[in-house]
């Protein structure tokens, strides 16, 4: 893990002191809300329906146990005893007081964390494959490059007032666990035919009102040229991106307008004028950052574990092992998915006690590391197979062992109208009602992989466009309705969902999902996931089932 150095710590301390004074001036009336709003947002502090919300940045979703314990402390001391992990691998605290915000930021700084650039038209938190460093097929550790970008992008003066917010994701595996096709920039590390490390660069993906899958503008960018090339992309965007219309300001609209080739040509021209050696990271600096992610000191263990296999006699453990335990690059180790999706609970919510349990398990069993995935779950990336039964028991006692990773109850949902000032409709209660229809783990397992994603407004924080079943809350004259899309996927085979039909009232959505699952179970052929069956059959059978009453 990257540890802040003296410069980082001093910079954060200065920033906290500055924000403390700004808060005092606002509370005293020396700053108006219009003057202060931009300042608080630069520090991750939003004003929502019931209170201030603090969005804490978790770079590439990686947390030490000390950091996770600090988040638990903050949630217990300054909030209502829980936090909400988001699809950007951040943590949101929904019940924050303005007067407490500087103290919270001071606590975060103690553990090398902050809320800077979790709002505003700047480069936001850099996300990466949450299996980084543990995954067998990755060509390099994407966290190294995510950290390089993080350091470059933090307080970057030229890119602090972009036309709109800007999000970058990095992956280094064939399986895309970072949704790189729906990011402003998606970076896919690979080796070319000559064995050289480089990035496939995707630009202009995004969800929201106008969803796009990001096209590739460069198939192989030498890794050492990353920052100068990113600068060229950002400069083209800064110059040509629209600032007159918020709905057309994201880079995806610019890329779509110019076409991928046209945009790439602009970037190449800009890049050719750049003094690349001045911008790109010196080898010594890259080595310094890389050393923070040096391979762990794994033990030599047998590939199979007797303790792990014996524990499978318990059907509940066996189910957990099937769905929440993933292969690790080192024999005898595993990656564990910690589910924040117990049916009936709020997706992504984690209580103080649960954070402390995961922090303890990370420290004891996972080399002091936990991760946040964009699917709003936690991950223990480096555990011995021998220890999985003990970890499962501890997770189960804390209601964190739901064996549903990737299944119908592993639902992504944004906070929606229950908290968010921008939302049109609630997302969480819809997720809760759907999940409660599939509480039988045997049924969920029989249904198999079925990602459901729910957003409470067109901003699409719940990634509904790329859900196998996507659900979007809309406002029809003040009433909550939900538009259903089918067939979306954020992974290597990325597709955007197709609209099923007219929007449904809130009380019909869970039943509609149930009906669509019935269609899938009826229609599916051997080994087909929901997505595969949908791609074969198209919308029609699902449409007929859901809208049968209307005919």
């Amino acid at each position: 893990m990257y540890r802040y150095d003296t410069i980082d710590r001093e910079m954060l301390a200065d920033r906290v002191a500055e924000f403390r004074e700004q808060c005092q001036r606002r509370l005293a009336g020396e700053l108006t809300e219009d003057q202060f709003k931009r300042i608080r947002l630069m520090n991750g502090l939003y004003l929502q329906l019931h209170a201030y919300m603090l969005r804490i940045s978790i770079p590439y979703g990686a947390l030490t146990s000390r950091q996770l314990r600090k988040l638990a402390f903050i949630a217990g001391t300054y909030d209502k005893g829980y936090g909400h992990f988001t699809t950007r691998t951040n943590l949101q605290l929904h019940w924050i007081k303005l007067k407490d915000a500087p103290d919270i930021l001071e606590h975060l700084a103690e553990v090398g964390m902050h809320a800077i650039q979790t709002s505003g038209n700047d480069i936001r938190n850099i996300t990466a494959d949450p299996h980084a460093g543990a995954n067998a097929d990755e060509v390099d550790d994407p966290r190294v490059w995510a950290e390089v970008i993080r350091q470059w992008a933090t307080f970057h003066p030229e890119f602090s007032f972009l036309p709109r917010k800007f999000k970058i994701a990095v992956t280094a595996s064939a399986q895309d666990r970072a949704a790189t096709k729906v990011y402003d920039i998606g970076l896919r590390l690979h080796r070319n035919d000559d064995g050289e490390l480089g990035f496939e660069v995707l630009v202009g993906g995004g969800l929201g009102r106008t969803p796009y899958l990001g096209p590739t503008i460069r198939k192989h960018l030498p890794a050492k040229s990353l920052l100068s090339y990113l600068q060229a992309i950002l400069r083209v965007y800064n110059r040509y991106g629209r600032r007159d219309n918020i709905w057309k300001a994201r880079i995806k609209v610019l890329v779509a307008g110019l076409g991928a080739e046209g945009f790439a040509s602009e970037v190449e021209t800009e890049w050719s004028k750049t003094d690349q050696a001045k911008i790109d990271l010196p080898d010594t600096e890259l080595a310094r950052i890389r050393s923070a992610f040096a391979p762990r000191d794994f033990e030599s263990l047998p590939a199979t574990s007797q303790a792990f296999e014996a524990a499978k006699k318990d059907p509940a453990f066996a189910r957990f092992a099937r769905h929440n335990v993933k292969p690790h690059k080192v024999p005898g180790y595993a990656i564990i998915d910690v589910s924040l999706k117990k049916p009936g609970e709020t997706p992504g919510d984690c209580s103080v006690h649960q954070m402390e349990v995961v922090a303890d398990l990370a420290e004891r069993y996972s080399m002091d590391e936990a991760r946040v995935s964009y699917e709003q779950n936690l991950i223990l990336p480096h555990v011995k197979l021998d220890d999985v039964p003990a970890i499962w028991k501890a997770l189960d006692a804390a209601e964190l062992a739901t064996p549903n990773r990737g299944l119908v109850t592993d639902i992504i949902a944004c906070p929606g109208l229950d908290y968010c000032a921008l939302a049109n409709a609630r997302a969480i209660p819809i997720a809760q009602k759907i999940a409660m229809k599939f509480t039988d783990p045997a049924l969920a397992e029989r249904i198999g992989e079925l990602p459901i994603r729910i957003s409470g407004c067109i901003n699409a924080c719940g990634h509904h466009h790329v859900g196998a079943i996507g659900i979007l809350g809309v406002d029809k004259k003040g009433e909550e309705f939900y538009q259903v899309t089918l067939g979306g996927s954020p992974e290597a085979d990325a597709t955007l969902g197709q609209v099923l039909g007219p929007a449904l009232p809130a009380d019909k959505v869970a039943d509609a999902v149930d009906q669509m699952v019935e269609v899938y179970l009826r229609e599916r052929k051997d080994g087909e996931r929901f997505l595969d069956t949908f791609r074969r059959t198209g919308l029609q059978p699902f449409k007929e089932a859901v809208y049968a009453d209307a005919h």
Binding site: E33, H50, L98, R426, E479
Partner: protein, 120 residues
């Protein structure tokens, strides 16, 4: 009929202007304006109270079970607290006034949301 709402500066809580001129947490204690002119005057004054309230705006209210409730669902969520957590928010106080809010059925777009988006 209208009420005046906003968020309290220091803790962000949803608050309402009471007849006394104070800002209060309970919707049931909000002053109700029959006259648009009086409502607009109160809103204009509230915008000068920058150390008390953030982004004040008027909301429409409707009768519900012998009491009053915000017309917009969004505003009822603000007045009650999040629906996913029974233990959080103003609804935990209970009583007839809260029941009236819980059972209200009006629907309209919230001016608060529209203004928020317009200002972005």
């Amino acid at each position: 009929m209208k009420a005046l709402t906003g968020n309290r500066l220091d803790d962000g809580e949803a608050i309402f202007l009471a007849h006394s001129g104070e800002w209060v947490s309970r919707f049931a204690d909000a002053e109700l304006f029959e006259s648009d002119d009086a409502a607009l005057a109160a809103e204009a004054h509230a915008k000068t109270q920058i150390t008390l309230v953030v982004d004040p705006y008027l909301i429409d209210v409707i009768p519900s079970e012998g009491a009053w409730a915000p017309l917009s669902f969004r505003e009822r969520v603000r007045a009650l607290g999040p629906t996913n957590k029974p233990e959080h928010g103003k609804k935990t106080e209970g009583g007839e006034a809260i029941e009236a809010l819980l059972h209200a059925h009006g629907a309209a777009r919230s001016k608060g949301r529209i203004e928020l988006i317009r200002r972005k």
